[in-house]
């Protein structure tokens, strides 16, 4: 499509949308402006992926929240953690038992002086901190004990400690915002049943 056609399509969109686009990304190519404008004009799509806030810090889309934290490491902390991650081959399969974690990653920054911890999880994290504190305290303290000032998972200050290092995401996209980990497990079970049924049928 020529720039002129794109421009015509752009002009066909609601004024309120065009004004917003012009105010913020007036310098962008018309192709980009049109794409963004069409997205903003699609109320249903925007509503499905609406971004709200997850507890005190962090973004949430539907049921799925993000937590991003950059925390200072104790001297030698990165080395200890790296050994541990090496032992399991970077595979944190056991984390599945938590039941709310879609994914998580650990990244060392700034010459191994800092730890980036990022995760996508269902709902809010702080209601479950008390469960971590009695169910998997050793694991939590082993991992995060390498962070400078870690108060311990059973400390009443642990929530404030985490929040203090949390960085809110400025943008957040989730393909299936209403699908929790538990919901996905349920769909997998359902699918297995349907597949078995089909196999038996034929």
């Amino acid at each position: 499509m020529s720039d002129r056609d794109l421009e015509n399509r752009f002009q066909g969109l609601p004024t309120t949308v065009r004004e917003k686009i012009d105010a913020v990304i007036d310098d962008a190519k018309i192709a980009l402006k049109l794409r963004v404008a069409e997205l903003l004009a699609d109320k249903e799509e925007m509503a499905e992926h609406a971004v709200t806030s997850a507890g005190r810090v962090g973004a949430k889309s539907g049921e799925v929240s993000e937590l991003t934290a950059i925390m200072p490491l104790k001297p030698g902390g990165a080395e200890k953690l790296r050994k541990f991650f090496g032992l399991v081959g970077g595979n944190l399969a056991g984390a599945g038992q938590v039941g709310t974690l879609h994914n998580m990653r650990f990244v060392f920054l700034d010459d191994d002086t800092k730890l980036l911890f990022a995760t996508a999880y269902d709902g809010e994290w702080d209601p479950y901190i008390d469960d971590f504190a009695t169910k998997i305290p050793e694991f939590m303290d082993y991992l995060f004990g390498n962070v400078e000032g870690w108060p311990g998972i059973q400390s009443p200050d642990v929530k404030d400690f985490i929040v203090q290092y949390q960085l809110p995401a400025e943008a957040w996209f989730v393909a299936h915002p209403t699908l929790t980990v538990a919901g996905a497990n349920r769909l997998k079970r359902l699918d297995r049943t349907v597949q078995n049924f089909l196999t038996e049928l034929n």
Binding site: D122, P127, D130, D131, A133, T134, A182, R186
Partner: protein, 447 residues
């Protein structure tokens, strides 16, 4: 029904310093009053506590019936109004300090349950002191209420904001036997009942003792204020019994089918008999037998064919059910001292008579506030933890349009038209101090 557990072991808790309500069972029948007071003058507030102190019963010999007992609990604004030091005030947990109304989002108290609909004095910050009387007889109740009122009349500077009488036979306004399932508290001296499992660590229910973490939970300072105290969550509900009956009539044709559906919603027949032990028909003798009524688990019923995964009691205490989310059930138990008010409605009545009736949900534990916030957001107003997606508690949630309840089976039955059968009229977070803390609070603060 034989409500009292027997005291068969040597208690290790300091029972004579702990308030009676922590361990004393609600009698049957029961009578009583919840009064809410505002302290407009700190010295007067302290004076009232001094006068009430001798009337406040301890948990010593909690197994022996007494005619009546009086309980006192204090909200955060109440502690402020008493002139408690800044340092002490700051040692209380953040959600207690914020108060129940401010925690509405976390509690999912939205729509008709939102604080701006609440009845006075809840959520105004003026509910400072809660004085409750529990009694075995009308006479003992009147005597205890008169006693507290005489003290109140003697002090200027503490005002009565609300006075609510309660009472029932042990069955609530929906006709269910209630309030009998209680956690076994280590150190209380109580005999263990079949189904209790390992008693829960005392620090889960009383501050200052080892909790399930192995250590005492954080407690307010100084230690005379915190130790032997606990937290109380008070939530007053209005019950829409006629709407509940309409729901049953609309979804079941015979009286038997209605009773089965009513049992599926709660997980127990109205008699108290658990579906887990009596899935097809009611068994009133089982319902009132303290040695059998909780002698069950859920693991052998993973699909909820007997006790639906979404029923009230399976949600509120999933026992050994396999949950989708890592959870420690031992830190989510509550001592419940709920009371019913207003009269029960027969199950044939489908028209609302407009009367005031319902239940004051009263939960005690060293983490009662965290626990109720957790229950409300994770186990009441969501079904995710049990693989039920967005389905909510059939009895106490704030239901959305188009809500349903699933009765597992082959095929499962999806019962439509479920509504919010209980509306929140208000509530408060309270601290229930020990007897020595009450004495301490009634002294003029030094410094």
């Amino acid at each position: 029904m034989d409500l009292f557990r027997r005291l068969t072991k040597q208690p290790t808790l300091e029972l004579d310093d702990i308030q009676a309500a922590v361990l004393r069972a609600r009698p049957e029948p029961y009578f009583g009053t919840h009064a809410i007071l505002e302290i407009t003058d700190a010295a007067a507030g302290r004076e009232l506590l001094r006068r009430l102190a001798p009337r406040i019963t301890s948990a010593a010999r909690w197994d022996e019936p007494v005619p009546a007992w009086t309980v006192v609990a204090i909200s955060y604004p109440g502690l402020e109004a008493l002139g408690v030091s800044e340092e002490s005030l700051a040692s209380f947990p953040a959600n207690f300090r914020a108060g129940m109304a401010a925690r509405a989002e976390r509690l999912r108290d939205t729509g008709p349950n939102a604080p701006h609909h609440w009845e006075f004095p809840f959520g105004t910050g003026r509910a400072h002191l809660a004085v409750s009387v529990y009694a075995e007889s009308k006479e003992a109740w009147q005597e205890a209420v008169d006693g507290y009122q005489r003290e109140l009349a003697q002090v200027a500077g503490v005002d009565l904001l609300s006075h609510q009488d309660f009472g029932a036979t042990g069955f609530n306004v929906f006709g269910y036997r209630d309030g009998f399932t209680q956690p076994a508290v280590e150190g209380s001296g109580a005999e263990t009942m079949p189904g209790d499992g390992r008693p829960i660590k005392p620090g889960e229910f009383v501050l200052g003792y080892p909790s399930e973490t192995g250590r005492p939970l954080p407690m307010p300072s100084p230690s005379v204020l915190g130790r032997n105290g606990t937290y109380v969550v008070f939530r007053k509900y209005h019950s829409h019994v006629a709407a509940f009956n309409r729901f049953l009539h609309g979804n079941a044709d015979t009286a038997e089918e209605r009773e089965l559906l009513a049992a599926k919603l709660v997980g127990r027949w109205r008699s108290g008999a658990p579906l887990a032990l009596s899935p097809d028909r009611d068994d009133p003798a089982l319902g009132e037998d303290p040695r059998r009524q909780n002698h069950f688990k859920y693991a052998e019923d993973p699909r909820g064919l007997r006790t639906p995964l979404g029923s009230h009691i399976r949600r509120m205490n999933p026992r050994d059910s396999k949950l989708e989310i890592l959870s420690d059930l031992r830190i989510r138990r509550l001592i419940r001292r709920s009371t019913s008010y207003g009269d029960a409605v027969p199950d044939s009545e489908v028209r609302d008579d407009g009367s005031s009736r319902g239940l004051d949900f009263i939960a005690l534990s060293a983490r009662a506030i965290d626990t109720v916030e957790f229950l409300q957001s994770e186990w009441v107003n969501s079904g995710n933890f049990a693989g039920l997606d967005k389905e909510k508690d059939p009895l106490i949630s704030n239901q959305d349009k188009g809500a349903y309840f699933t009765v597992p089976g082959t095929p499962p039955r999806r019962v439509q038209g479920i509504q919010s059968f209980n509306t929140l009229l208000g509530g408060e977070y309270l601290f229930m101090p020990s007897l020595s803390a009450i004495a301490w609070l009634s002294q003029e603060p030094t410094a």
